[in-house]
């Protein structure tokens, strides 16, 4: 165990925490937007998976990681469109439709992958990073934090943009009201259905980009069912963050670290079975829920469809 605090171990841990954390961050931020607006988005796992598949497909066939991210956003958006149509416009049960979309995305992406890539399992070449001058020269954390793919910086930046938007803009207030007291928002002349639709679509876009990151940057390839609960962890992050994006960021890094511990431990020469390590993030979620579950605050109208005039 004496190799545990070496530079290689730490670098690999921080590196892995960020690579694994960014998809969780994007999913968590996305879910937060939906939940604020009163939509419990259980379909986010499916949105991520669709984003991962389409993101990989586009990146692989075009040779451009950036187009891949666009494709990923499109994949997430596609599933989100269905969710918005069924749950927001028609007011169908969000949990049932969410499960259905996740099941459907799992099945469809696995099927498509089987027909296209199952023989070859092609890989993408490593994506170029964008080192930030000076900062990236810091030992240990420099290369891990400041020599990353630009989407990493964008995702972290988005956290603060959302934090500002939620607190300081009319749109942020509208979102909050759509989840807490939709009837009041409606009475104030704001289109509740419109706000919620936009929120769900934003969730899909972010989750899709998160999925594309998972496939294109994290793994370099698409594997069926590869999200493996990342979307659900995103839901937990959003629940525990009580509407604050910065908490989602911290939580995502924490869970990212749990997820990346396997590789880091292997680097340090400690042999822990993968299955034990795979339990860590979920055990961490449960531990956090046991400790802080009571404080997880959710919008009053979460999960309820809004029908004008109905009680």
């Amino acid at each position: 165990m004496d190799g545990l605090l070496t530079q290689a171990f730490l670098t690999s841990l921080v590196l892995g925490a960020i690579t694994a954390g960014v998809p969780l961050l994007l999913a968590g931020l996305g879910e937060q937007i939906s939940e604020k607006a009163g939509v419990l988005n259980v379909g986010i796992e499916g949105m991520m998976l669709a984003g991962a598949y389409l993101g990989f497909l586009v990146a692989y066939s075009s040779g451009s990681i950036w187009l891949g991210f666009l494709g990923g956003a499109g994949g997430g958006l596609l599933v989100a469109l269905l969710m918005a149509l069924l749950c927001v416009r028609l007011g169908l049960n969000q949990i049932v439709i969410g499960i259905a979309l996740t099941l459907g995305a799992e099945g469809m992406t696995a099927l498509l992958h089987y027909f296209q890539f199952a023989q070859s399992y092609p890989r993408l070449e490593g994506a170029a990073t964008l080192p930030i001058p000076l900062l990236s020269a810091i030992p240990v954390i420099g290369p891990a934090l400041f020599d990353r793919h630009p989407v990493v910086y964008l995702a972290v930046g988005l956290t603060f943009v959302l934090a500002w938007m939620f607190r300081r803009t009319a749109l942020g207030l509208d979102l909050q009201a759509a989840g807490d007291k939709p009837a009041a928002l409606d009475a104030a002349g704001v289109d509740v259905i419109g706000i919620r639709t936009a929120a769900v679509l934003a969730t899909g876009t972010l989750a899709g980009i998160g999925g594309a990151f998972l496939a294109n940057i994290g793994a370099g390839l698409f594997i069926p069912f590869m999200t493996n609960g990342a979307g659900f962890i995103g839901i937990v992050l959003a629940m525990l963050a009580r509407g604050r994006p910065v908490w989602v960021l911290l939580g995502a890094l924490l869970f990212g670290a749990c997820l990346s511990l396997t590789t880091a431990l292997q680097v340090a020469g400690v042999d822990v079975p993968t299955d034990v390590i795979q339990m860590l993030p979920f055990a961490a979620v449960m531990a956090v829920l046991v400790l802080f579950g009571r404080r997880a605050s959710l919008p009053a109208a979460l999960g309820l469809p809004y029908v004008r005039g109905a009680r």
Partner: protein, 364 residues
């Protein structure tokens, strides 16, 4: 039947307001058959897009899952774990609780039963050992659901999240157990010891149909009767319909919640047990049939009615056994069943929505 089973805020059945028996039957047939047909049609479109002839696929599924004697026996054996899962989900959904963690409960119980089965069968007479396996499974499932149950009952933490987390946790934990604790030293692939065929649940009447089928049928019928005919079932349904009202009615809601979790998870875990002591005999590493999520659409389709669930579980078993066979023959992987289930859920919700609208208009 009710229009709100899927689209209501809580998954709870309301008493039907039926004008006549014939009209009600026709209506039930419509809201049930239309989603099934539409789902098969839409999934057929998916097959077509993938370059497979849907008619050939469905034909092969029917042929291999229903019309051949071997396939039919396999389909009937497959029903056993699915029926236990359906029973578990019916209890939870009628009580307004989303137990989405059945896969973890199933798998963990399967592993523990697979480990305990062979030594129990050596030490005790057959039926005692098998009953002990079922009891053990139920205890494992109930224990695995305790944390989500307590969190939901006393802290108000959303059980969708906690049960899902426990499923991921349980799936990995089951693998750890297979690879590290209960590994059969005699095999190269990590798997548990195999329960001898003679020690498994008896086959029915000289066929290869697992005796688990009978247990599964009994479980579903008992659960149906419990929910519809007993005071306890009524209490659970009241909690499901309106937990706040239940508190005001003096019901011990937290205790009932924990009980629902325990029963639901216990039944899901027994599904794992009957699959092991009836069909599989052992658990291989990374084995996860993920039946739990697939059964959810079925119990919704059945509007949480036990008897209807039996019929839909049978249909799904045929689709699943036939689909596995068609996967080998036509090169369509069994993931396709997931797509059918997803489309079925969505169409079902849509049909109930339209039906609800129509009836509201009739009332107005």
């Amino acid at each position: 039947m009710t229009a709100d089973a899927v689209n209501g805020t809580a998954p709870v059945q309301k008493p039907p307001a039926t004008p006549g028996v014939a009209a009600a039957a026709l209506h039930w047939a419509l809201v049930t058959l239309v989603p099934i047909l539409a789902a098969l049609l839409l999934s057929g479109g998916v097959l077509l897009a993938l370059g497979t002839d849907p008619l050939a696929y469905y034909g092969l599924v029917l042929q291999r899952g229903l019309l051949s004697w071997l396939g039919l026996q396999a389909s009937l054996s497959r029903m056993a774990p699915l029926l236990f899962l359906a029973a578990g989900l019916i209890v939870a959904f009628r009580a307004g609780i989303w137990n989405l963690g059945t896969d973890g409960q199933f798998l963990l119980a399967a592993v523990i039963v697979a480990a305990a089965g062979p030594p129990l069968a050596e030490a005790l007479p057959g039926w005692v050992a098998l009953s002990l396996c079922l009891v053990l499974a139920a205890a494992v499932g109930a224990a695995w659901s305790l944390l989500p149950a307590l969190l939901r009952a006393y802290q108000g933490v959303n059980e969708i999240i906690t049960t899902l987390m426990m499923t991921f946790l349980g799936t990995s934990f089951a693998n750890v157990l297979v690879k590290l604790a209960f590994r059969d030293p005699a095999t190269t692939v990590p798997q548990t010891r195999t329960l001898a065929v003679d020690d498994r649940l008896p086959r029915l009447f000289g066929t290869t149909i697992s005796g688990g089928l009978v247990l599964g049928l009994v479980a579903v019928v008992l659960v149906h009767l419990m929910m519809t005919r007993t005071a306890f079932g009524l209490k659970l349904r009241v909690v499901g319909a309106n937990a706040r009202a239940a508190v005001h009615a003096g019901l011990p809601v937290p205790r009932l919640t924990v009980a629902v979790f325990a029963i639901s998870a216990g039944l899901a875990a027994m599904a794992g047990a009957v699959d092991i002591i009836g069909v599989q005999g052992n658990v291989r590493a990374d084995w996860n049939p993920a039946y739990g999520l697939a059964v959810i659409p079925l119990v919704f389709l059945a509007r949480f009615n036990g008897f209807a669930s039996i019929a839909f579980v049978f249909l799904f078993s045929v689709l699943s056994i036939g689909g596995e066979s068609a996967a080998r023959r036509l090169g369509v992987p069994h993931y396709f069943t997931l797509v059918v289930m997803a489309i079925l859920l969505i169409v079902l919700a849509l049909v109930e929505f339209v039906d609800h609208r129509r009836r509201e208009r009739m009332r107005a």
